[in-house]
């Protein structure tokens, strides 16, 4: 088939895109390694899109020959959608169809998952078994599990749990803390780092006793993941290692991809670098894109050196020096903002003292503003004590709205270096939050403090506690436990208030409490029967026993009904006939189980006024904050059911078992893990609220107005993991005593460069007011104050959407929305996990498995033909 011709220039014209010189050069570059430095707001996404399109359309690279990795799911979705839209235009112009579903486009994790099973990396083209992936929370629960943890510290040669905790924490955080939680969290971090550095525990030679113990524990951890010959579990770090091993062990792996494009290269880790170079061995077409000044993820094992030293490392690994192109024109921010952050980043010395002429930064790039709007766009508060600064800035935000310069409070973001300090909400966050509360403006800060502290979580957990009662652990000296108990009691008080205001809720809670009590009473009666009859619980349940069970005096009508309904009788009969009878234990559990699960309870509670109002706010888009939190809660509840079973049986609820597992173990873990595990920002942010987020969460985002909530962050000694890895691998890098300082510089740089129209900085008078560099800027750099700024010149904020065009599925968007827009909102948009109803996940699961069946059958047919 022949297609009509077109040119990329023609396509640019159709899309109204006029690339600048370096953008054009980057898009049209096709041969050899490419090093793209991309400053904030420099049109990187567009360049990636058009560059990929150029390869596909004008250089006949097949989609499956392209590897394009992004940092977040969201970014990959955006690229996918954008690419489909652009390719659609090509199809319309030329008649040539494109299908990019086989392109390796996604986060590094998702691509690693498909690489492992990719037939192109295996001899004979067979498909390998995919490992089961544990996310960070599952990994934590696995290691935290008392039994497994005991195995681990035993493997490490510790004599008891306490000495293990003390030794591990002493070694990794330089302080003896007898806490399993802390020890587990630290070990997890170290294990992941080992995996990411591709360290083989067998080959480690060290005389350090503590390190030796940890390496043995790591070895044991890895061994424990192999479930049987075919199945193994991996965590996120081992997944990447697994992908690398797959690629390395296959001789032709360097030729599978003709082009690799890696976005956010500054936040890649050691194993990823190895993987990328390995995949690029054959073609040498590796394009890395990133900005070292925006490197943020060292705490997850990322090494900014991958980017800073890319030119040399590429030469070493592939034998070719990459071409470097700087995307250095900023299209996002007004000129004063760009001037400020480019000034900011050079206020420290980045020179490498050991190597003359070299820097710990790509120091010779020059970021320029495209905007010629030189009107003031960076303002500072009056220099005052904290409360007054909070109040002044909150009032300023409030005043912005009636001017029309922002359309919604969600266009004004507050960015903080962190939202928490030692488990409690950060002072600055709390201060600004109170200032907004005083003005009646809601904020959206789901990650401030622990998730379990948000109003919605407290209400739901409080009502759960009213129904199931709370676990009791008597006298304890543990501050953490006391705090957690106080949290539970606080939630129950909150629930009491809600119950007081809603008669029906009161009645409902009473009914559910009765359900629990009835089930427990039935359970005890049935146990007594078994004892009296001298049966063993493990014995088979015989049809004739139905009568004995059902005739226990005082057994509840519900249990009686469970035991005598025709369905049950039939099942027992068949089971007995087939000689596969249920055990007595099974029948007792079944008879005394509640009709509802924790998730059912959640959805039913949502029907009461307090929660109903939250849904109403979301239905017309007024305020999405509460419903986002409710959605998250449903996910946590579902995860609990996954791990501990769906059904609430009386035996599970007896002796406080359920409440201990649910509250004292599961919710307590959520309570302590807090924000660090969940960094993904919701975007767009809920309407009607001022978003409060960490600078990390703001990565890749932009806002018309940005307020930096704090301009201070303390510097810490180098992370022990870094010290260990450098020692083990004999690696060099940024001086250990400067790492924290460099990281803080980059973090603030990211924060400052998120602002489009206006950047607001607080000037506090008291302790921890500002870093030295910010202090210097406040004193010597020309800035306007909030009081003096003339809002007349402030541009009107544009809608957040970057309209690359989105894809909508006929079935899972259009049909679903048409069936019920509200159902679509809840389950599709906010990701509620349904309890009973069929879901999209259900459909996808069936479809995907049928697809695999078809593949299998097609493969079988081909084999048979041969």
């Amino acid at each position: 088939m022949s297609y009509k011709k077109t040119t990329i220039e023609k396509l640019w014209k159709i899309k109204g895109f006029t690339p600048n010189d370096s953008q054009r050069e980057a898009i049209l570059h096709t041969d050899g390694p490419l090093f793209l430095t991309a400053g904030p707001g420099s049109g990187k996404t567009r360049v990636l899109l058009w560059r990929t399109l150029n390869l596909l359309v004008f250089h006949d690279v097949k989609p499956e020959e392209i590897f394009l990795s992004t940092f977040t799911e969201k970014a990959s979705l955006q690229l996918k959608d954008g690419l489909r839209t652009l390719l659609g235009i090509v199809t319309n112009e030329t008649g040539r169809p494109f299908d990019i579903s086989k392109m390796s486009l996604g986060t590094v994790h998702s691509i690693c998952q498909s690489l492992i099973t990719d037939r192109r990396f295996s001899q004979g083209g067979s498909r390998k078994h995919a490992p089961i992936l544990m996310d960070a929370l599952s990994q934590y629960f696995k290691i935290y599990n008392k039994k497994f943890w005991e195995e681990l510290w035993t493997a490490g040669g510790f004599k008891d749990e306490e000495s293990a905790h003390n030794a591990i924490t002493k070694y990794l955080v330089d302080k003896e803390i007898n806490s399993r939680h802390v020890a587990v969290t630290e070990c997890m971090g170290l294990f992941n780092r080992f995996s990411e550095e591709h360290i083989n525990p067998d080959s480690i030679k060290t005389s350090d006793a503590s390190l030796k113990a940890l390496v043995k524990m790591y070895q044991h951890y890895i061994n424990s993941l192999q479930i049987n010959a075919y199945t193994k579990e991996v965590d996120f770090s081992l997944l990447q290692q697994d992908a690398f091993t797959t690629v390395e062990s296959f001789p032709n792996s360097g030729k599978v991809f003709k082009h690799l494009i890696i976005d956010e290269y500054q936040d890649t880790n050691a194993i990823q670098e190895k993987l990328y170079f390995s995949l690029a061995k054959g073609s040498k077409n590796i394009c890395v894109v990133g900005d070292d000044d925006q490197a943020l993820y060292r705490f997850r094992g990322a090494t900014v050196e991958n980017l800073v030293e890319f030119e040399n490392r590429c030469k070493q690994s592939l034998g070719v020096k990459p071409k470097r192109i700087d995307l250095d024109i900023n299209y996002r921010s007004r000129k004063n903002i760009v001037d400020l952050y480019t000034h900011f980043i050079v206020q420290t010395d980045w020179k490498n003292p050991k190597k003359k002429g070299s820097h710990f930064r790509v120091h010779d790039k020059v970021i320029k503003a495209h905007s010629s709007d030189v009107k003031p766009s960076v303002v500072v508060s009056a220099k005052d004590k904290a409360e007054n600064v909070y109040a002044e800035i909150a009032q300023f935000v409030m005043d912005l709205k009636p001017t029309g310069k922002i359309k919604d409070y969600n266009q004004c973001a507050f960015l903080f270096p962190s939202m928490k300090f030692r488990g409690a909400i950060n002072t600055r966050v709390a201060g600004f939050q109170q200032a907004f509360e005083a003005l009646g403006i809601p904020v959206y800060a789901p990650r401030a403090g622990s998730f379990v502290e948000v109003d919605e979580a407290r209400a739901i957990f409080g009502l759960f506690l009213k129904i199931f009662d709370r676990p009791h652990y008597g006298n304890t000296g543990s501050q953490n436990l006391i705090k957690f108990r106080d949290w539970m009691i606080g939630c129950m008080r909150y629930a009491d208030d809600l119950i007081k205001q809603d008669k029906l809720l009161k009645e409902y809670v009473e009914d559910r409490k009765n359900d629990v009590e009835t089930a427990l009473a039935d359970y005890n009666m049935l146990l007594a029967l078994v004892k009296k009859k001298k049966w063993n619980q493990k014995d088979p349940f015989k049809f004739a026993m139905i009568r004995d069970f059902a005739e226990v005096p005082k057994l509840s009508p519900k249990a009686k009904k469970n035991l005598t309904n025709s369905y049950f009788r039939k099942v027992i009969e068949i089971k007995e006939r087939e000689n596969k009878p249920y055990s007595i234990d099974y029948v007792i559990n079944r008879t005394t189980s509640l009709d509802w699960t924790v998730l059912d309870l959640f959805y039913q509670l949502n029907g009461f006024r307090h929660f109903r109002d939250m849904y109403l706010l979301a239905e017309d888009g007024t305020d999405e904050g509460p419903i986002c939190n409710l959605g998250l809660l449903s996910q946590y509840l579902s995860r609990f059911m996954d791990q501990y079973g769906t059904l609430l049986t009386a035996s599970f609820m007896s002796e406080e078992k359920f409440v201990r597992v649910f509250f004292a173990s599961y919710v307590y873990a959520l309570y302590r893990l807090g924000e660090s595990e969940y960094e993904d920002a919701d975007d767009p942010f809920p309407k009607g609220r001022v978003p409060f987020l960490t600078i990390h969460q703001s990565k890749g985002l932009e806002f018309p107005v940005v307020v930096l909530g704090a301009v201070y962050k303390g510097e810490k000694p180098a992370d022990k993991k870094e010290v260990i890895v450098r020692h083990l691998l004999n690696k060099e890098g940024e001086p250990l005593d400067r790492i924290s300082h460099f990281d803080n510089m980059r973090m603030f740089y990211v924060g400052l460069s998120r602002a489009q129209n206006l950047l607001v900085l607080p000037r506090f008078t008291h302790a921890f007011a500002a870093t030295d560099i910010f202090k210097d800027i406040f004193e010597n750099y020309p800035l306007q104050t909030i009081a003096d700024i003339d809002l007349k010149h402030l541009p009107v904020a544009e809608d957040a959407q970057q309209d690359l065009g989105k894809s909508y599925s006929y079935t899972s968007d259009y049909l679903l929305y048409n069936k019920c827009p509200r159902n679509y909102m809840i389950f599709k948009k906010y990701g509620f996990v349904p309890s009973r109803s069929q879901t999209m996940l259900f459909g996808s699961l069936v479809h995907q498995t049928i697809e695999d069946l078809h593949h299998l059958l097609i493969y079988e047919r081909k084999n048979a033909a041969v």
Binding site: Y808, Q838, I850, L853
Partner: protein, 280 residues
């Protein structure tokens, strides 16, 4: 060649892996009952439609209609997925659905709209031949499900023969334009955050061609019904008796059989009989 048993065993493995992957990707989970139901749909698809399954030439073909614009100026792309069977003399396009066959039969016009758009993309944009389009409904009929759950093999066989999951959809290109326009309106509504439920009047009406009301068929299968204004109004005002039957409205876990099935699939003694520890 693999035997049917081997294929089914392999299917169960693939299913388990897919579930883990999808759960990880979406952060969602299914109840054990849901997982079991989904697995059964796949297994019965193979048992019933082996003829078609073994002839599929292109699976999960992604069809896209790109570069569309909504009335309010948003760019969007329509996506759909189908399976194709190319034989020497004819080409079939199958859309596999987890909707039940009665509903599909009754609402054929809806499926017609959808498959017409897909057929249009396949034939006109891609330039491929096409002779028939059909929906395959993977929902297992209740009678078959029941036979399966009590393990009555003879009845399973009988019900399997009775089951008709393939529903041919007439192929007619005319309404593609209207469908795409309607699609565009939905895109605008989604982006504008319009998510109010259908009014109570709709809930009280029978779904076209079926014998059940919207409230029974759609809402009762929706976990979010308790917090829904429309359903609440329906359940408390329109039901017989006139006054609010609060308990009945809440204590609604489906029929006895449904509840039994739920318990059957969910009970997991290993998980229940754990000995929890006190937190340290």
């Amino acid at each position: 060649m693999m035997t049917d048993q081997e294929i089914e065993k392999r299917l169960e493995e693939i299913f388990a892996q897919n579930y883990e992957l999808l759960k990880m990707e979406g952060g969602h989970a299914l109840t054990e009952a849901g997982q079991k139901d989904a697995l059964n749909q796949v297994l019965y698809y193979y048992r019933k439609l082996k003829e078609i399954a073994t002839k599929v030439t292109d699976t999960e073909v992604k069809l896209t209609l790109p570069d569309q614009k909504t009335p309010e100026g948003r760019n969007f792309t329509i996506e759909g997925i189908v399976d194709i069977v190319r034989e020497e003399d004819e080409v079939w396009m199958y859309d596999i659905k987890t909707h039940d066959p009665f509903y599909v039969m009754a609402n054929k016009h809806l499926y017609e709209k959808q498959l017409n758009v897909y057929a249009y993309i396949w034939e006109n944009l891609r330039g491929n031949p096409l002779d028939h389009t059909a929906v395959i409904s993977t929902v297992i009929p209740d009678a078959l499900k029941e036979a399966e759950s009590i393990g009555d093999t003879a009845r399973v066989q009988k019900e399997l023969t009775k089951w008709e999951p393939v529903i041919e959809i007439p192929y007619n290109e005319d309404n593609v334009k209207d469908t795409v326009h309607d699609f565009a309106l939905v895109v605008d509504n989604i982006e504008k955050h319009c998510f109010t439920p259908p009014p109570v009047k709709v809930l009280d009406e029978k779904i076209y061609g079926t014998n059940s009301k919207f409230a029974t068929r759609i809402c009762r299968n929706c976990d979010a019904r308790f917090s829904c204004g429309s359903y609440r109004e329906y359940a408390t005002k329109l039901q017989k008796g006139g006054t609010m039957n609060f308990k009945k409205y809440y204590e609604d876990y489906g029929t006895d059989a449904e509840q039994e099935e739920f318990i059957n699939a969910s009970i997991n003694l290993d998980k229940i009989n754990i000995t929890p520890e006190l937190p340290q």
